[in-house]
């Protein structure tokens, strides 16, 4: 049986402005501004504050969590998410979510978290060049930053099987999920010189499999850091996706990938279409093929376009769901929404792109680029086209182009508002978020799989959360409702 596809998205945002235009400083200002404004009642800086350092050296703290590996600004939100500085970008990691729609919701909330941080920072830092952030993946000059998805996978599935089954999807899904890009920025395309690519990231991939994320980027990343019980779980870390502005695209990205992982767990890798013979070439060239017809030879000798792969994979997923499976991913209604949109986007990009400009980011962006080119008679090099590309991803509603192109919505504004403050109820993020909301002064450190409480007397108390499906509202809601202090909570949990 496929295991529950707990999932989430980490997004590194592009950033400009701030003192001296230094992106690390600007990113830190954002994270601190968010914390200072009281939207989250807990925040800490592992560089300057001692509680974290204490925690890091506790012998009981076995996991090397991302939250204790950096001296940069770092905070955990009451919705269970993490908001921090990664390299030279502000990064929002959604909490663990149980379904693709929930994953979409908490990724979308990230845009509001960044927007709030930007507004607070700009209002409270007089004389500072205003900070702006962009939910995209490249500066158009050869520098790329990531939008990474995470999926819980059964440890019993050998990694080689994951590569074999999932590479075709990761290579071809850009055909409906790409965020679009004006021009090119790597040597690979100097000869072909595409005017527009369907994905932001595709030309940056150089290997099929590997551990790297910044150099020699691999199509399938091997990072083995389950943030859970390593005997039972694997976390597939997908680094090849684009940041989507389209809610439907984010939903289909999470849903299609999670569903195919469930197929792999239940049916094995043999049911999947074969790998392209040259996967790196395939991912790049599919990305530059606006006709969606160019085939790449696969190891079975057949030639497939990205569209052909997606068609086969959709049929595989649809057959799986029609056979009564899929509960590892979502409810029947959510699976139907997923398969319907996946199919319509796929048929749409080939037969009537205009019909899916409300869901496919690259189609929506290309429509703007072509429209502006024609209206003003612009050359390919005109900076207005590159500006459209960047500004499509501006998170400020008053500047965002994505907000103007009529993208279809899946989320209610009220749900986004609710999820800004509150965690999902059906994963361990619930326990994390509620503890942070209720006991901000008694938490020394938190990470994905544990919380460390400091009750003011030695020793610190670590509550492990090695199963992402424990710590839910169903299991702990009442206990949290009744625990008026961290001490009471720990007693009720049997930790004290």
């Amino acid at each position: 049986m496929a295991i529950a596809k707990v999932l989430g998205i980490e997004t590194e945002y592009g950033i400009t402005g701030g003192p001296d235009g230094d992106p690390v400083t600007a990113s830190s200002i954002l994270v601190n501004a968010f914390a200072r404004n009281g939207v989250t009642r807990i925040n800490w800086d592992f560089g300057d504050e001692s509680p974290a350092n204490d925690a890091r050296h506790m012998p009981l703290l076995t996991s090397v969590a991302p939250m204790v590996e950096t001296h940069l600004a770092n905070t955990v939100l009451t919705n269970g998410a993490r908001f921090y500085v990664d390299h030279a970008h502000p990064e929002y990691s959604s909490p663990e979510c149980r379904t693709p729609l929930s994953g979409l919701l908490y990724d979308r909330v990230g845009e509001d978290v960044l927007l709030h941080a930007v507004r607070v920072a700009n209002q409270t830092s007089e004389g500072m060049p205003p900070i702006t952030v962009y939910k995209n993946n490249t500066d158009g000059k050869g520098n790329s930053y990531g939008t990474h998805e995470n999926y819980l996978v059964d440890r019993e599935i050998p990694f080689a099987e994951i590569v074999r089954a999932m590479a075709p999807h990761l290579i071809s899904r850009q055909v409906i999920l790409g965020a679009g890009k004006v021009g090119f920025e790597t040597e690979y395309f100097e000869e072909l010189a595409p005017r527009f690519q369907i994905a932001q990231r595709s030309e940056f991939f150089e290997e099929l499999v590997g551990l790297e994320t910044t150099l020699k980027r691999p199509i399938v990343n091997t990072r083995d850091e389950p943030h859970g019980d390593p005997e039972r779980f694997r976390r597939l870390h997908v680094i090849i996706g684009d940041a989507n502005m389209s809610e439907v695209a984010t939903f289909v990205k999470l849903g299609s990938t999670a569903l195919l992982l469930a197929v792999l767990e239940d049916r094995g890798s043999g049911v999947f279409p074969p790998m392209p013979k040259t996967p790196v070439r395939a991912v790049r060239e599919y990305g530059a093929d606006l006709t969606l017809t160019h085939g790449q030879e696969a190891v079975d000798g057949r030639t497939r376009s990205a569209w052909d792969y997606q068609d086969e994979l959709w049929n595989l997923a649809e057959g799986y769901v029609n056979g009564g499976d899929g509960s590892a991913v979502a409810s029947e209604a959510e699976l139907t929404l997923l398969l319907t949109n996946w199919r319509e986007m796929l048929d749409g990009v080939r037969d009537a792109p205009e019909s899916v400009a409300d869901r496919v980011d690259w189609v929506a962006k290309l429509r703007l680029v072509n429209g502006m080119r024609e209206r003003h008679g612009l050359s390919d090099e005109d900076p207005r086209l590159a500006a459209i590309d960047i500004q499509y991803h501006d998170i400020r509603p008053e500047k965002s182009l994505a907000r103007r192109v009529g993208l279809r919505k899946l989320l209610e504004a009220s749900a986004i508002g609710e999820a800004f403050h509150n965690p999902p109820r059906d994963t361990r993020a619930y326990f994390r978020g509620r503890c942070i909301a209720q006991y901000p002064n008694e938490i020394a450190a938190a990470n994905w799989d544990s919380i460390i409480f400091d009750l003011g007397v030695d020793p610190l108390h670590r509550v492990p959360m090695m199963d992402p499906l424990k710590g839910t509202a169903e299991l702990l809601g009442e206990l949290l409702d009744n625990a008026s202090s961290a001490e009471e909570l720990l007693r009720a949990l049997g930790t004290l």
């Binding site: 520098n143 205009e354 900076p383 207005r384």
Partner: protein, 65 residues
């Protein structure tokens, strides 16, 4: 590939009457689409960064991940 190609291509097996009705419907749909795009581009013209060249030149990021 373009919406125009798609919308202006009546299927050959349809009878003449249906085809002409389709063409009228498509023409008006096309006009609507063109109108929608025009309004959208008006808005984009208004909101697009004033100095696109400088804006694009200054948008420099460090690699991440």
């Amino acid at each position: 590939m373009t919406e125009q190609e798609h919308l202006q291509k009546p299927s050959p097996e349809k009878n003449t009457e249906t085809t002409s009705v389709d063409l009228v419907a498509n023409a008006s749909k096309n006009e609507q689409l063109k109108h929608d795009l025009d309004s959208l581009l008006d808005e984009i013209d208004e909101v697009l960064e004033d100095n696109a060249e400088e804006f694009v030149r200054n948008y420099i990021q460090k690699g991440g991940e």
